[in-house]
Subunit: 109 residues, 2 copies
DNA sequence: CTGTTTTATCGTATATTTACGATATACAAT
DNA sequence: ATTGTATATCGTAAATATACGATAAAACAG
């Protein structure tokens, strides 16, 4: 049991769910805010702004990288993370299109 | 270990992550689409449109109910599910506001 | 009351996520 | 070469999510 059935859904549904999954932890929401609103971008700076260990923050950064929302530029021994504008914009549009589609409802109750 | 640190984040970040979590499975994306685009709303009808068992679909409906995105009106032995327009609209706005805020970036790399 | 239909919940197995310490790696400076 | 700094990865423990069969509960039909 608990064999994943995700592959039995449509590509679009899987993608939307995957983007949502990347945003489904407050640490990852906060990381995106930090990258957007402050000048902080080094992994270490982000760690200092979160109530989590360096290893755990690194894992959250990896999840954001997995879906492409952020990318990391190596700068000597450090890594400068930033939002991938292009991919972020693409996902933002897809998500908003989904949400707007849901809003034109024919509610039966 | 694996003691949750979620309570150490800000209320807004927790809420956004929680909405995203509710949308983080293709079955739940599809359920919302079904409720919006078709006349189906009974639990049984939804089950017939998904590649999952009745018990599993019921669990996914419960998760969507948990955050308030849908509600279920009891109709005899059946339950008619529908999107809670008010809460959906509220969350939609919060999410879009978050996404737009991220878009005005001061990228350092 | 009995049987049928519909949905929720329980119990359970497995998979995935979250979290961290320890360690490895990669580079810069001395 | 050695030392220090920054980050990723490994190993592991605990928590949560996913999935389903079986069963319970609720409401109606006959």
């Amino acid at each position: 049991m608990a064999v994943s059935k995700i592959s039995e859904f449509e590509e679009k549904e899987i993608e939307l769910a995957d983007i949502a999954k990347a945003l489904s932890h407050p640490a990852r929401i906060k990381i995106l805010k930090i990258l957007a609103e402050s000048n902080a971008c080094m992994c270490g700076e982000i760690v200092d702004l979160l109530p989590l260990s360096q290893a755990t923050v690194s894992q959250h950064l990896k999840e954001l990288k997995r879906v492409g929302l952020i990318k990391g530029d190596i700068d000597g021994p450090k890594v400068c993370y930033c939002i991938d504008k292009k991919i972020f914009e693409k996902y933002k549009k897809e998500f908003e299109s989904f949400l707007s589609g849901i809003n034109e409802l024919n509610n039966c109750c």
